[in-house]
Amino acid sequence: MSDAIIRLENVSYRYPDGTAALTDCSLTINRNKRTAVLGANGAGKTTMFLHLNGILQPSSGRLFRDDIPFEYSRTGLRKLRSKVGMVFQNPDSQLFSASVQEDVSFGPMNLGLDTTTIRRRVAEALGAVAMAGLADKPVHNLSYGQKKRVCIAGVLAMEPEVIILDEPMAGLDAAMQEELTAVLERLHAGGITIVIATHDLDFAYGWADQALVMQSGGLLAHGTPEDILLRPEVGNALGTIPQIAEIIHSLSLLGIDLRGNGYLPRTRNELVAAIAAVTTREDTP
């Protein structure tokens, strides 16, 4: 099996009102990788995502899953959507059932599974996002962060290979963000491919294995975050570069090389540790 789990080939999409949201977009999402999709507002991230599970069909171009072209028949779509799960930005557009449990079971029910399997999957999914204790709670009483996690559970219960999240961190406080990151980390460790659209460059820099940068409906750059996020054209498109990278750059101008042990810090904690390591190195004669 090839590395590519989903591949877009020259995909263009025009909304009914004439907006060209994707133009000749080609990109690859790799299996078992953490992929961050970056791009300014209106770059086409959400539109691209809606193609990945067949909600939108390209006006021209093709999509492949495991190198097989997407099939837009009823059964084809059902299969696709069970493999490619999508968590939307606003939890209120996903949650419509009375209770948490009922909502999470919506997906598995659509797959036509039997009751015992559904029960098991719902329990597992709620466990994975640490919401098992709130299974019987009414959805409308949950906090925003809890709703977000219920949404993720609702997708997890379909046991997808890929989970796509559109700006999952938006609206979450720092603690919730950390918790959600931990949830995603567990899922990734369990072998699920994770794709996230985000405006948080620092998060993408620290978290992703692979970054895709979109600009006006096409792919501008792709590669590892440390490779591409520092390129000038990417910096221009996104309007900024990761803070950590900026700090490292400034320090290197001062003659402090954090790359000493051959590895570049990507998160705040790594940066603090690297600076601490450098200072102790300088202290000991």
């Binding site: 959507r81 557009s93 996903q94 449990q101 919506f106 029910m109 659509n110 009414p138 409308h140 379909m158």
Partner: protein, 270 residues
Amino acid sequence: MNAITTAVIDLKQLELFAQGDTQVHGRDARVKVLVTLFFILSVISYHRYEINGLLPFTLFPIIMVCRAELPIPYLARKMLLICPFILLIGAFNPLLDRSTLWQVGSIEISGGCISLLSLLLRSFLTIGAALILVATTGFTTICQALERLGMPEVFTVQLLFLHRYLFVLAEEAERASRARELRSCGSTGRGIGSFGSLTGHLLLRTWQRAERIHTTMLSRGFTGQFHGQRRERFSHADLTFLISWSVTFLLMRTMEPATLLGSFITGAFP
């Protein structure tokens, strides 16, 4: 507007009761739908002055509520809420219909009063039975049962969408009215013009949100059919439930047990 939201949230509460695990909850949904239907038909088939004959029918909701372990205060509140509507419909009866029907001592009770009382009783019984059905079965499952009883899928899915849409509409309504209240600084600025544009916005937003919800439903594998919580098989207990209640209603309707009891007593003590 806020009242709408509370009412709708309460409707969701009703759905939550449907996740209980009593014997009544476990009965086949089709059986419950049928029994409720028979019950409602029997109750509304009485003439407008009937009171005695209706009394035995209170047995059904009481038994169901107890066996399904539904919270009585909650249901009672729901019933009280609908009281004004029934009174609105029946308010003129006592004024229009002044013929004396009953005489208790020296007090004459007019036909209008009796028919109002009868209307109240019949409304409580039928609406109560419907509430109990939803609270023990859940809306999705009821629609599924209707489908399996022969209602075309187009109707049941529409019914379900309507049910879902109601929640969406109420939530958007609450948001819009809250935003308007905040900006209008209290009660001023509530002209008919602002109300018109509010309604327009509301419809637009509700429509957009409904579309977003539809998208998320599609991405979770929705293909046009709703699936209820339980996969049911018709058991002996279901059959017993159906037959015993149907026969009971039939007997109550035709034999009038109150009169029967009366004649039995007068027969026993001549």
